[in-house]
Subunit: 318 residues, 4 copies
């Protein structure tokens, strides 16, 4: 299992799902994105995270998205000549998001994801009965899911989508479970991330989900990050991670100040549609969102382009 | 269609789904509840509303829940001797909740619900990408669903679960669609309900989903209500509706003051688990919630019992 | 004291403070407004409420505002020929707002207000240390203020300005104090207002501060209302109160639907500056707000005018 | 003015105001605290910040608090033998909080504070008319105050008390004013602090007001911090600042993890009353809060003691 921890260090993009004009998943475009990401130093991929429009996908589509990403990631992971190694563990990790409300549905989805090739699962806090989402409920839910899961479990805290927060003390309690191995925390609350690092098991992998606090999070001990902006700018995110890891404070700070405004415009700014537009501008296959979400308008796209250009992170961008 | 409007007047309970100790749906207990409700003057039933734990049910279970309720409601609707009438339209209306995020999934679920016997559907606002849920998105989503739906559509605003609000002006715009026939508004915002009544099409059915403002809502022109508390106290809710309809202000106010504290304890107080406990105390089949929700604790049940007793609405309650 | 209760029934406008172009209080304009209000059937006046910009006034200005309003209200209260009566109690009640954070400052301000002629005081919940504003703190604060106050005390709940809510159960506890005689509740939460009416002492005066729920509040047992919109449209608010009091449901509902949109535009819409613009449009002395607040822009004023015209409540409005 | 910038680097405690049992300010105890702080490497003091209960103080008390702190800080600033220097600029900076709602009252308070010896003022965002607090209003207010102020102005963003946020872009605009020299940002939003650093004038002093993000803030370029916890643990806060300044990442991170839980318990945990209890436990003169705030209970004090002990930052604590 130590191998997984090593693979949960670094930058993982939460892959978007490109839809075509009929609203169908474009698996070829998705695989093509992964193929290109494979050359950028990313630690792995999150399939079916919030930015994937997982809630817009059927159960069958979700399985096929995982399979597509897994396959594309493995190909990329084996450069010519290495095929003989067969060392699957050296490849990029594929983490599959689980977005379910009942414990039994979450367990079923976890099994499907593992069957489709996921190395780990990222299980969202249930979020419909907000008033009932107590610490007890979270502990019961995640413990049952982790008990049943054939692969390691990461917790997923994303209050901007769920309206629900899992407290650092609850995360610390859950970190004692041998199959709960980390958290993606997208709340952007630096104090809470520090508290989780302080309170949880030493080898618990804390991944920030907020591009605006990547460097601070790493400095406080985060293992890595799952960042929307990494879908459009994988290289700079990896560079920032490496600068932080090597103690280059000035370089890391400078990169953080460049990454932050682009990160903001593709998250709180224009959301999934904005991220897809930024990916297309950066040369990846953004594709369309699925209804009721709509593509950004032309003026919105120009705003995104302007912010991307100003960052200096996209040298080829017109 | 005028017939539907007549049937959307009055009190509809949002039926809970009783689960057994293994976590399976107890369809017999559900049908038995409906059979007893049939004698209480309710206008119909909401299947798969928030209190049904719809998000904890599979697609197949959802269909069977609708079928079960529809069948039980029809039997009850035909008292001995009336069988010859065969006037299906005179029966209690069955409204099926639709809890989906993508427009295509909502349309598919609407068709399944209609196929299972639903007379109308209650379509929740999409709620995962909260930042993206603009007026445009709501109009696009509900219009597409209403265009495709074989049965009338009601909008469903329930910010305490979704973290998203649909504005009165947006509701007014949507009320112009011939297949969008009303709204269940559970926000408990009396000003907003009045605004919807003022702004929407004259025959648009506004149903309040908040037991604490039933009488005020009716006085301002609401057609009726979908109330959790009606699952435990159908008679008093119907009495309150009738008092308001007949202009008995003192009686209606008195009943409202009795209904309010019980309504509160089974909603914001203890949620679905509290409602199920109250139903059991009142002699109905509450059953268990499905994990991660848990049954109320013994002290919580006693708090509920105390409040129910103090209301004077449950004469047989020990 | 029964006399006060009788005087706390009906509609009271929370008087705005007109400022001139140098930012000074225009006491003459204020007195002139009161003189005109005196003919409209209002039950009295609230001086130094939220809409008065009380937080923008010095202690000395606050005293002089109360004195001005008191004097103007008494003159108006004595129609020609009645001077001989000398029945001060039959006049319009003047309630003075107290906006302080420490208990000792509130007590001092209450004494100054009583000395300036206030018949009662409206004491806001302290609101700076939001996290510390527990039920205990509220009970301690209001009890100490009421113990020391030479005039009756009303509680003031206005979360849109304070970010703090006083719960109905706390209000009920405080209603047992012989010198705490009512509440102005501006939260606009109909369920909470009903709960206060249900839980508090029978003769506790509940005044809604939200024009959008005036009729529902009165029907549930509110004694009256303190409404910003009554500064611009005193007559229609009094008419609505009277329609409700006489059981004219259709008339009250119709008036409510006319009052609501105008009420909204001068509160959540454009705030104090909007209310002042509406007053000027309606022929009263709106004057300017004090910096940092600014007058509405010309397009904003036209929006207000359009909404006022559409309501049909301002027949002379061009 | 460059001298001021140098003095705005480092740690400044927001001094609490000790009250005696009659509720009077204990100026002797306050001066005694400052005398002891003078030996701990602090860069200066904030008088009349949120933790001072400034809103509980009269205008006269506010002046005397500033005078007391200024006098005590100057004495301490001149160690034996340095008296000949007469270099007032080398002493600790005294920043005075301004907590007013109208622009004119803020200007008047700024002048009083400067007259009482304040080297700079910390001007809170107006916060009563929350809905009206637009970017325009903030720019108008702070510009007018800065134009009139005889001393440099710092902006003060503290949404947990005010319910109002000033956006990084607005701060950036205001940073162009020659007399607006920095901000204390207590929101605890690391992304926003980074944005301010990125967008504002290069020599604009960003001071974080959140102890849980001290090290991350410094790494991103903050000049220093105004921290409640520094009232109880000045030494460790200064050590953390120095570790960060000298590039000792491991040491700074370790100290941050020790400071965070204590910081939390005296802010979001038990507020001003908790901070005063912690100060007393640490050997300073905490004193009592002023009503309606009350001292912490005995069990609460033990909770605070336990957390302080566990931090290892208070070696003498029993």
């Amino acid at each position: 299992m130590a191998i997984l921890e090593n693979r949960l260090k670094g930058i993982l993009p939460p892959l978007t799902t490109p839809f075509d004009e009929r609203g169908e998943v474009d698996y070829v475009a998705l695989a093509d994105n992964v193929a290109r990401y494979n050359d950028t130093g990313l630690a792995g991929y999150v399939a079916l995270g919030s930015n994937s429009e997982v809630v817009h996908l059927t159960a069958d589509e979700r399985v096929r998205v995982i399979e597509t990403i897994k396959l594309a990631s493995e190909r990329g992971a084996q450069p010519p000549g290495d095929a003989a190694l067969g060392d699957q563990e050296s490849g990029r990790v594929v983490v599959a998001g689980i977005n379910e409300f009942s414990t039994r549905a979450a367990i079923e989805a976890v099994r499907r994801a593992a069957g489709a090739g996921a190395d780990a699962v990222l299980v969202i806090t249930p979020y419909f009965y907000k008033g009932a989402m107590t610490e007890d409920v979270f502990i019961r839910h995640f413990t049952a899911v982790a008990d049943a899961s054939p692969v390691p479990v990461l917790l997923y805290n994303v209050p901007q989508n769920t309206g629900v927060v899992i407290e650092p003390s609850t995360v610390a309690t859950l970190s004692a479970h041998p199959n709960i191995r980390g958290i993606k925390d997208s709340a952007g609350n630096m104090g809470a991330i520090s508290s989780i690092i302080r309170l949880a098991r030493k080898d618990f992998a804390v991944l920030t989900g907020n591009g605006g606090i990547l460097y601070p999070s790493l400095l406080m001990g985060a293992a890595g990050a799952v960042l929307a902006i990494a879908c459009a700018a994988p290289g700079p995110c990896v560079d920032l991670f490496n600068a932080a890891a090597s103690g280059d404070q000035a370089g890391a700070r400078e990169l953080q100040h460049r990454v932050s405004p682009v990160s903001q415009v593709v998250t709180t700014g224009f959301g999934v549609a904005g991220l897809k537009a930024a990916m297309t501008l950066a040369g990846f296959n953004g594709g369309l969102p699925r209804a009721p979400l709509a593509a950004v308008s032309d003026p919105e796209r120009e705003t995104i382009r302007t912010i991307m250009r100003a960052s200096g992170l996209f040298p080829g961008l017109e």
